[in-house]
Amino acid sequence: GIQVEQSPPDLILQEGANSTLRCNFSDSVNNLQWFHQNPWGQLINLFYIPSGTKQNGRLSATTVATERYSLLYISSSQTTDSGVYFCAVEGDAGTYKYIFGTGTRLKVLA
């Protein structure tokens, strides 16, 4: 089955810093999402981005499907950005069964 690896596994930032999170996947995908899991466990959808670039405020994401990776950019980080970031890709085309990556645990210090 498809493998989804994220890097770095852990990241500590000072408030105001920028960061880039990476998601590599082992096969071509039709669907890809980025999620933020807050410290209370709630999963929030950040981007649906099977290809191309999207921006939402301080966050942006880019997926290069032909090279099998996606990047999530966080600018001017805030303490509320802390939590775990997951990318998820559709395992088998047309099933909508999303396979989750290994996650990046982010802590932003005040």
Partner: protein
């Protein structure tokens, strides 16, 4: 986007007992899934809940341990049967069709601790 309510939000259970988790969606959805998140780990798909028929289970998950019902397009239950401490996890209901047709949206999860 769809709003998903899960009950219970958390529970502490005794070994050998079973617990049923409910998932209610505020609109009709075609596809509904159950995921498990073990402590400190990523999410793993348990099964696809099929309306009016048996759920489709992923490798490593069986119906006897995780029976699932889906009587209509807005409601599903997951039962964790004969629990052991290894079943201590967050169980999450998700549906397809958040702010887009292929967007996966999650409920708040049910955090189970088995003693």
């Amino acid at each position: 986007s769809a709003v998903i309510s899960q009950k219970p939000s958390r529970d502490i259970c005794q070994r050998g007992t079973s617990l049923t988790i409910q998932c209610q969606v505020d609109s009709q959805v075609t596809m509904m899934f159950w995921y498990r998140q073990q402590p400190g780990q990523s999410l793993t798909l348990i099964a696809t809940a099929n309306q009016g028929s048996e759920a489709t289970y992923e490798s490593g998950f069986v119906i006897d341990k995780f029976p699932i019902s889906r009587p209509n397009l807005t409601f599903s239950t997951l039962t964790v049967s004969n629990m052991s401490p290894e079943d201590s996890s967050i169980y999450l209901c998700s549906v397809l069709g958040g702010s887009g047709a292929n967007v996966l949206t999650f409920g708040a999860g049910s955090r189970l601790t088995v003693l």
